[in-house]
Symmetry: C2
Subunit: 197 residues, 2 copies
Amino acid sequence: MFEPPVQRLIDELARLPGVGQKSAQRIAFHLLNVEEADAIRLADAISDMRSSVKLCSRCFNVTADEECSICMDVRRDTSIVCVVERAQDIPVLERTQSFRGRYHVLGGAVSPIAGIHEEQLRIKELVARVEAEKIVEVIAATNPTLEGDTTAMVVARRLKPLGVKVSRLASGLPVGGDLDYADEVTLGRALSGRMEL
Amino acid sequence: MFEPPVQRLIDELARLPGVGQKSAQRIAFHLLNVEEADAIRLADAISDMRSSVKLCSRCFNVTADEECSICMDVRRDTSIVCVVERAQDIPVLERTQSFRGRYHVLGGAVSPIAGIHEEQLRIKELVARVEAEKIVEVIAATNPTLEGDTTAMVVARRLKPLGVKVSRLASGLPVGGDLDYADEVTLGRALSGRMEL
């Protein structure tokens, strides 16, 4: 119905999470009406991010370098590791200012329904780090959902034999919720009240 | 808080209509996690649209050519013109299959609050078309809002002296609504029940 280049952009936009057909149209026409430089800046931001951002070789956080800024920060406590499902959970935890260790990004949570099994998560990389980096405590900061809880149990089962302390974020987070939407205070409390598994 | 290339993309996404900070983060990380080709396709769709799409020299609809596909369609009735605020309103009207004339895109509506005066709209281009193209009827299909009604009145006042019939979309559209969200049946009824101003 729209001119082909406009329709193609609408189709691409409609693939994004939380963007329906109507929002995609609005955004496409917005991008058609703004200054060309503004539209191109968005296009460049997408390609720049894809070309410059990679995963930290240690913790799999996003980074522009070989290791991420947290892993390279010499002031961080290297004996404690906070395990998260996704890289975007790290800034949420950082904002609490309640954690000074390093992170480990699993790349998701165990979910038989979605076909995600523990072999697809970066659990063996975590085991290797615990063995190599003199880590004494691992905090499972997975989401307070069925999948997140299962993943925390899997992590605990794999790490306990190595003699490392494994804890889970305290309840206080609303059950069934999403870590990404937690406020700093609740999340800070959950961090300090974490309980050993 | 995020790596600079990621933060830059989040900032650009958050400028889009209907996209908040949180949605921008979700979309940015989605674009980080999908296949690189998928992300680049979106970036290319934005720049392609900006480089290939221009405005029809006759009606100011979006087009990849000198004139849009509607103006170039020889089967359309060239004696009747439907005046719309924005180019994205044209496909909505086309879907009703109730109109076989041509269009004219004003580029907005008169709004003293937003500082948009009639001189900034393409009204003199419309007057020139009515004089040059043997147009006998102009339908003001502006939004059923205060701004849209005002714009329709302005169009009528400027065209009446030329002896052209000027009509307005029939009420039936919910007052205060947005033409872009009307369903085909309501909009089709509004078209056939249009009243002379």
